[in-house]
């Protein structure tokens, strides 16, 4: 059998899943913009969603580059996301029905959290010199 070199890691997979989440957020933000023509409030929400998506792309990029602060931010974002999902699932508003919302709102955030928790696993390939797991706060 042909051997494939092990070049990825749990963080690499988490990074891809975060990019998926960011892309879904980006689409949600863009889809709000047509409604913003008649609903000024949606301008703010649409732009905030697009900004969040860009922020998540940035976090995914920096997670792959081994930045500690990106890891921390992503853990926070995913925990908040899961907590909100649990809260909404308890309300009688039909927020979670069927496999797609379960995959998007539960399975993916949970997978990202599990992958982020596996810090002892193999690490990403270094993308640049000397800033893997650098923490700007500590460096200062």
């Amino acid at each position: 059998m042909k051997q494939t070199p092990s070049t990825s890691s749990a963080f690499e997979i988490a990074g891809v899943l975060v990019v998926v989440q960011a892309s879904l957020s980006l689409v949600a933000g863009l889809s709000a913009l047509p409604f913003a023509i008649v609903e000024p409030g949606f301008r703010v929400l649409g732009v905030a969603t697009i900004a969040t998506a860009i922020g998540m792309y940035w976090l995914a990029r920096n997670l792959r580059r081994g930045r500690r602060w990106a890891w921390r931010w992503l853990v926070t974002v995913e925990v908040v996301s899961l907590a909100m999902t649990c809260l909404l699932a308890l309300l009688p508003i039909g927020a979670l029905r069927g496999p797609v919302p379960l995959l998007v709102n539960v399975a993916i955030p949970l997978s990202v959290l599990v992958l982020l928790a596996s810090r002892s696993g193999d690490r990403p390939i270094p993308a640049g010199p000397a800033h893997r797991w650098s923490d700007p706060g500590r460096a200062a």
Partner: protein, 387 residues
């Protein structure tokens, strides 16, 4: 294909805008079975390898040396392949044949990951082509987007993201870097847009105007149903005469629901009537149109207490209830948009489903009739100057 929207009834599914077509439901079971099979298979393989079988040892070594990213991409492609094969019995003709080819292709690629090095580019092509073909089918109306189809596309998109990252490299000239950064978000955006267009452009009999799911009813109203519908309309008209003046409605406990200034209609709700069931003396809401001369009462809205609880339809198909789904609701105000087929809403808003409602229009509602989900556009424009 025009797969019927029958879906699975009851919690947690009920009916929803993108529910599960009955001929697609076996695919969920097949996907779960595949995951169980893979778990048992690899467990068994390791057991055999520990007992000294050289072929099993080689297989386990190759598996262990494969990166986690690659393994996950393989599992996702195997999942997609299995789902496609499980869907074959419900799809005849060219679609069924394409599902067989697609399913076998994905399974072949999923296995090729462990035995060759040439799988990556074919996998990208196969995944992209499959997603593109689905969008063509959906937009053309040959396939109805349901949750199994959408979940399958999500699996394929995640697999595509994984495959693009495998040996993806870092650096390169800027056009290549730009393409690497934008290709995946573009694929997700185009997929979402395609499913959305398909779903909205080809609603079936139970999916009316965007975001509304209709109560299943008979095709033709019987004479007694016509009489009952006429009675409901007359009783509602009689009951509503006391609320022509919005001040009278407010005095009776109705409160204007917050709504955008752009909305030509205002709903005044009365929480005290929340548990009344289709009672003309206690409608849950009154609907006023914003006319040039002030608010004008145009109808009542009956609403059931809970999501998924269809109300009595004395008029059969004439008094069909509807339930709004997939609305992104912002608690910051009463702002709405529609959630994406991937069940996402803008930040600060959440997807909600309203309990079923039935409007009774006490004015002439044009061709839509007195029990339509919406006020007729022409009537609304004549009344409010807005459409």
């Amino acid at each position: 294909m025009g797969a019927p929207y029958v879906g699975l009834i009851g919690w947690p599914y009920g009916r929803c805008m993108y529910d599960i077509a009955t001929d697609h439901a076996p695919a969920i079971g097949a996907a779960i079975l595949l995951l169980l099979f893979l778990w048992v298979f690899f467990g068994g393989l390791r057991l055999v390898a520990r007992r000294g079988a050289s072929w099993a040892t080689r297989a386990v070594d190759a598996f262990d040396r494969t990166s986690a990213l690659t393994k996950l991409a393989a599992v996702l492609m195997l999942l997609s392949g299995t789902i496609h094969l499980a869907l074959v019995p419900g799809h005849e003709g060219i679609t069924g044949i394409l599902f067989v080819i697609d399913g076998l292709g994905f399974i072949g690629l999923g296995l090729a990951v462990f035995i060759t090095n040439w799988w990556r580019r074919p996998a990208i092509v196969w995944l992209t082509t499959t997603i593109a073909a689905y969008l063509v089918w959906v937009v053309a109306g040959w396939e109805t987007p349901d949750q199994v189809g959408i979940a399958c596309k999500l699996i394929e998109l995640v697999a595509l993201g994984m495959v693009l990252r495998v040996n993806g490299g870092i650096g390169g000239a800027w056009p290549r870097r730009l393409w690497r950064a934008t290709a995946f978000p573009l694929a997700v955006s185009v997929t979402t847009l395609g499913i959305w267009i398909g779903g909205l452009a080809h609603p079936d009999a139970l999916h009316a105007h965007a975001g509304a799911l209709l109560q299943p009813v008979g095709a033709v109203a019987k004479p007694e149903q016509r009489a009952a519908a006429a009675r409901l309309l007359a009783d509602t008209k009689t009951s509503l005469t006391r609320y022509q003046d919005p001040a009278a409605a407010i005095a009776a406990g109705y409160k204007a629901r917050p709504v955008s200034n752009a909305d030509p209609l205002l709903h005044f709700q009365n929480q005290a009537n929340a548990h009344a069931i289709l009672d003309p003396n206690r409608p849950q809401a009154l609907v006023y149109a914003r006319t040039a001369t002030g608010l004008r009462l145009v109808g009542a809205m009956y609403q059931m207490p809970a999501v998924g609880q269809w109300g009595p339809d004395p008029g059969g198909p004439l008094t069909q209830w509807h339930q709004h789904e997939g609305i992104c609701f912002s608690p910051l105000g009463i702002e709405f948009s529609f959630e994406t087929p991937f069940w996402t809403c803008p930040v600060g808003s959440t997807s909600i489903t309203t309990p079923p409602m039935l409007h009774v229009w006490i004015i002439d509602n044009g061709k839509n009739g007195p029990f339509a989900a919406d006020l007729d556009k022409t009537v609304q424009h004549e009344l409010t100057g807005r459409s």
